[in-house]
Amino acid sequence: MSQPPVDPVKYIETTVRLPYHYVAGDHRARYLRALKDRKILGSKCSKTGKVFVPPINNSAESMAPCDELVEVADRGVVTTFCIVNIPVVGRDVELPYVAASVALDGADISIFALVQECKADEARMGMRVEAVWKPDGEREGSHEDISHFRPTGEPDAAPETYLNRL
């Protein structure tokens, strides 16, 4: 026992595999299904009237239920963005790319969006963008049904129209 062990076992390998089957929830299930039809659904707060996308069951801010589902536009305004030069886990996108928060027309909070068909140094707050959908037959009812967002060429939105929708 006083001698160090010959060829000690220094490591063990443990592979943890834990499968999960997440329930989407009734609101989110309808939202995902609507993407297949090129529609984006939000839910409206019964107290403040704010529209949340993706739809949530209750407003975290007001605690009130958001039972009513409403359709919002598939276009909106860049409220904040960054130009990404580092590879991101789980995405295969050419660097640099523009990651943006986009407030869709009719929504009170922004969704996270990948902006392409746009030079990185041309991205700006207030820029109008639209969803580029995957072709018919290829949409599966998932977030990847929107391939990306691209500039519409419309005039920029005024800051007061989006600064409270970050």
Binding site: I12, L18, Y20, N58
Partner: protein, 373 residues
């Protein structure tokens, strides 16, 4: 002891326990429960000073998964929050402790998690030592069976005794609408069930399910403002034992025993003869016997009713099961236990546990009167 603040349970709500809720995520299940609890005590979110939640990320399948619950617990404007990777009964202990500091007077304690989305059996396997216990495939059923085997050898009781305990719980639980299993059954029928891990039959194991729970605590005169029948915390303590299973006597719960002694002392009672019933987090009939022994309850005498709700053998929403015990005591002592009411009860014990073979234990003494000063 005399400097302790009196704290009471003033509200409790839960969803009926089900095997799987297909329509709601864990926090979507929790939202109506929090709203109902606030409605029960007649306040909006601003009437609550503090919040503690209990869940486990491995069951949720999301790192830091508990933060989702903030969106349904009334966290805006920002307030102090605490999360425990433990059963809600322990979360309630930390809410009680925070109230003792005097910084807050009211708190909500929530338990949540969907057992059906992942694999609790695998998760609890990973809780064990990664070098030899986990790779050997030990899980909560096999560790409970090792414990049961040792207990049967030490005490000489047998399969008939275990079946009788399960039958008693199932009979009591049949009238509890929140239970997942609400069918009475006979000792003979229970003994027809195949072995899960001998000496435990499948029928001796709890039905694992999902729910959401919310308990409301309030201090001193606030308790009376929020509730006509507050149920006072007269004593509480919790103790944890060693992680290494081989280093413990699995047939005894030393932690539960010490926690009980301290809780009784804080409550100023001699022991269980001063209580009418006990709600215990015992997931097998053998665990029930071990916890009774630790708490000084003699199951052979009928002076303390054990698990009038039906106990975990009728519903085991992991992470909430201990909080359900506190909720059941509140319902009983505040006159909301309907058909399962234990007549004449003014004081009771609620026990919570976590970990393999009763590793961690919390013991509460609760009553319709304030703690004796």
């Amino acid at each position: 002891m005399t400097t302790l603040r009196d704290v009471a349970i003033v509200g409790y709500t839960q969803l009926p326990v089900v095997a799987r809720d297909e329509h709601r995520t864990a926090i979507e299940m929790l939202y109506p429960v929090v709203c109902e609890a606030l409605g029960q005590v007649g306040v909006d979110r601003d009437g609550i000073d503090y919040q503690v939640s209990a869940s486990t990320d491995y069951m949720d399948g999301r790192p830091f998964g508990f933060v989702q619950a903030l969106d349904v617990m009334g966290s805006w404007p920002p307030r102090q929050d605490l999360h425990l990777e433990m059963d809600g009964s322990f979360a309630a202990y930390y809410a009680w402790l925070k109230i003792q500091t005097g910084e807050v007077d009211t708190a909500i304690v929530c338990g949540h998690g969907k057992t059906s989305e992942g694999s609790p059996e695998h998760v609890f396997n990973l809780q064990l030592d990664p070098f030899y216990q986990a790779p050997l495939g030990l899980g909560p059923i096999t560790t409970a069976a090792l414990q049961a085997s040792a207990y049967l050898a030490r005490t000489g009781i047998g399969d008939d005794d275990l079946a009788a305990i399960v039958a008693r719980n199932r009979a009591a639980g049949a009238s509890n609408p929140d239970n997942q299993v609400r069918e009475q059954t006979s000792v003979e029928a229970l003994q027809q069930s195949p072995w899960a891990a001998r000496p435990l039959r499948r029928s001796y194991l709890p039905p694992v399910g999902e729910s959401a729970t919310c308990l409301v605590l309030a201090a001193e005169e606030k308790a009376g403002d929020l509730c006509d029948h507050p149920v006072w915390i007269q004593g509480v303590d919790h103790r944890s034992e060693l992680q290494t299973l081989g280093a413990r006597d699995l047939t005894r719960a030393a932690g539960a025993k010490l926690a009980a002694q301290n809780a009784y002392a804080m409550a100023g009672i001699a022991g269980p003869r001063d209580v009418r019933f006990a709600e215990l987090l015992a997931t097998t009939p053998v665990e029930e016997l071990i916890v009774c022994d630790a708490l000084g309850i003699d199951p052979a005498r009928s002076d303390v009713v054990v698990n009038p709700s039906g106990g975990p053998l009728c519903a085991h929403p992991i992470m909430s099961t201990g909080l359900v015990r506190l909720g059941e005591v509140f319902r009983q002592l505040s006159g909301h236990a309907a058909e399962r009411t234990v007549d004449g009860a003014t004081r009771a014990i609620a026990h919570g546990a976590q970990g393999h073979c009763l590793q961690q234990n919390v013991v509460w003494v609760l009553g319709t009167d304030r703690r004796a000063a």
